[in-house]
């Protein structure tokens, strides 16, 4: 996986995870992967919906020690 950037959104509340994800993904090229760590429970659905709407692909998602981790490929 071509992970270009890791975004630490741990501890941040809605709407910050997607606002930060948007800022981060703007800096990337199509095909690059953005890794996001979040603790807001809503982020799981939020980031999945946001990726779909923006044409990005969630390659992987897992939860480790209450941290939600996403790997999102820019579309």
């Amino acid at each position: 996986m071509n992970i270009k950037q890791v975004l630490d959104a741990k501890g941040l509340a809605c709407p910050m995870p997607i606002v930060k994800a948007k800022k981060a993904i703007n800096q990337l090229e199509s095909g690059d992967v953005l890794e996001i760590h979040a603790t807001d429970k809503g982020a799981k659905n939020d980031l999945a919906a946001w990726s779909k709407s923006g044409g990005h692909e969630v390659l992987e998602f897992k939860e480790e020690n209450n941290v939600l981790k996403f790997w999102i490929k820019k579309g």
């Binding site: 941040l12 509340a13 709407p15 910050m16 606002v19 948007k22 946001w50």
Partner: protein, 159 residues
């Protein structure tokens, strides 16, 4: 890329919590790559007030209104459990604990994300608010300009 989607929000309420909900949705929509407009009317205009005193020429009624309305987003009350002004202090403490973003920062963030903030000029006249008292870099318009944005809108909310 297809044409950008559009979100329009009418902020009528001057309550801290309701304005916060409106601005969270606006920031979220901007992150969703929507073009976002928040149209502030009636008490919602207070969210756009500068928090410092701005000297202006006003009549008696307008001065009264200016005194009785909150000067800026941070001074707005809650729609529920306001407890004569103590409620906002409580909720701001709780927000800090949960790292929720306070309203003035949400408004800054919206401006950074190019959310279009519009003040309704008709209600500005009614409440005696002048352009100098409101934040910089906002737009002034009426119902027609709002409808022009809203008729192309995909999401449209009244708060």
């Amino acid at each position: 890329m297809t044409e950008k989607k559009r979100t329009t929000i009418i902020l009528f309420s001057g309550d801290y919590d309701k304005a916060m909900a409106a601005y969270i949705i606006a920031n979220g929509a901007a992150a969703y790559d929507h073009e976002v407009t928040i149209f502030h009317t009636f008490w919602g205009l207070n969210a756009l007030r500068k928090d410092e005193h701005v000297p202006t020429k006003k009549g008696f009624m307008e001065k009264m209104f200016a005194k009785m309305m909150p000067r800026g987003a941070d001074r707005m009350g809650l729609s529920n459990m306001n407890f004569a002004g103590f409620g906002p202090k409580l909720i701001k403490d709780v927000m800090k604990k949960h790292q929720a973003v306070p309203l003035p920062e949400l408004i800054n963030m919206a401006q950074e994300q190019d959310v279009k903030l519009v003040a309704c000029t008709m209600t500005m006249d009614l409440l005696g608010l002048q352009q100098e008292e409101l934040l910089d870099d906002i737009e002034y318009a009426g119902v027609a300009a709002y409808l022009a944005d809203a008729e192309e809108g995909n999401v449209n909310l009244f708060v």
